[in-house]
Amino acid sequence: MENLTEMLKGVLEGCVLEIISRKETYGYEITRRLNALGFPDVVEGTVYTILIRLEKSKLVEITKKPSDMGPPRKFFALNDAGREELRRFWEKWEFVASKINQLKEEQ
């Protein structure tokens, strides 16, 4: 679905954390995963911006690995603080989702 940017804004960071938690990965792979999931508007730059923020907040560990094409890639893995942040994200998500569904079904 398109034009979700505004709505996705608050949860995209949580989505990126979740994807990284599954396996160590890099920016473009995360972008493609989100596109395949049904968010075509998410571009590489958006994910890269989130990754910079995660790095500044010290939620990820970074390893540089050579790539077949171009400069070495930065691979991201969650550290303990990142895992804790992800747990809090899902907690908040469950709360918001349940309240919004409640509102929808209340009529």
Binding site: E44, G45, Y48, I50, P71
Partner: protein
């Protein structure tokens, strides 16, 4: 003494060298990427970061991060718009916001100042 005097007159040589080196990397990008980079840089200098922390322009980390992204994407021949999206201004704002160090932003300062005032006086 002489060093600080030189700095005052001609600026920090190290900073200038780092900036020139970074711009050389920009010049080496494919032309679509180069065009986008210059537009983005111009926009960022014009509007400034939302938190008002101008140090992101002198420390260069933000711009080198951007060059890193562009080099990697260009090497895999992706279209520039698949990297920065259609709302480029928004991309710039978000990018600057992510790059501002964890210092107190103007927004945090106004919150603190107003809250302190009313917490002191009660509601």
């Amino acid at each position: 003494m002489l060093d600080s005097f030189k700095k005052l007159i001609i600026g920090d040589m190290e900073e200038k060298r780092a900036y020139k080196q970074m711009m050389k990397r920009v010049d080496a990008l494919p032309k679509d990427y180069r065009f986008a980079f210059r537009k983005i840089q111009h926009y960022m200098y014009s509007v400034g970061p939302s938190g008002g922390d101008m140090t992101i322009f002198t420390d260069l980390t933000m711009f080198t991060d951007l060059v890193d992204l562009f080099e990697a994407s260009a090497a895999e021949s992706r279209h520039i718009l698949d990297v920065i999206g259609n709302d480029v201004g928004k991309f710039c704002d978000e990018f600057m916001r992510a790059s501002v160090a964890n210092t107190e932003t103007l927004r945090e300062r106004i919150n603190k100042e107003v809250m302190e005032k009313f917490n002191k006086e009660g509601r």
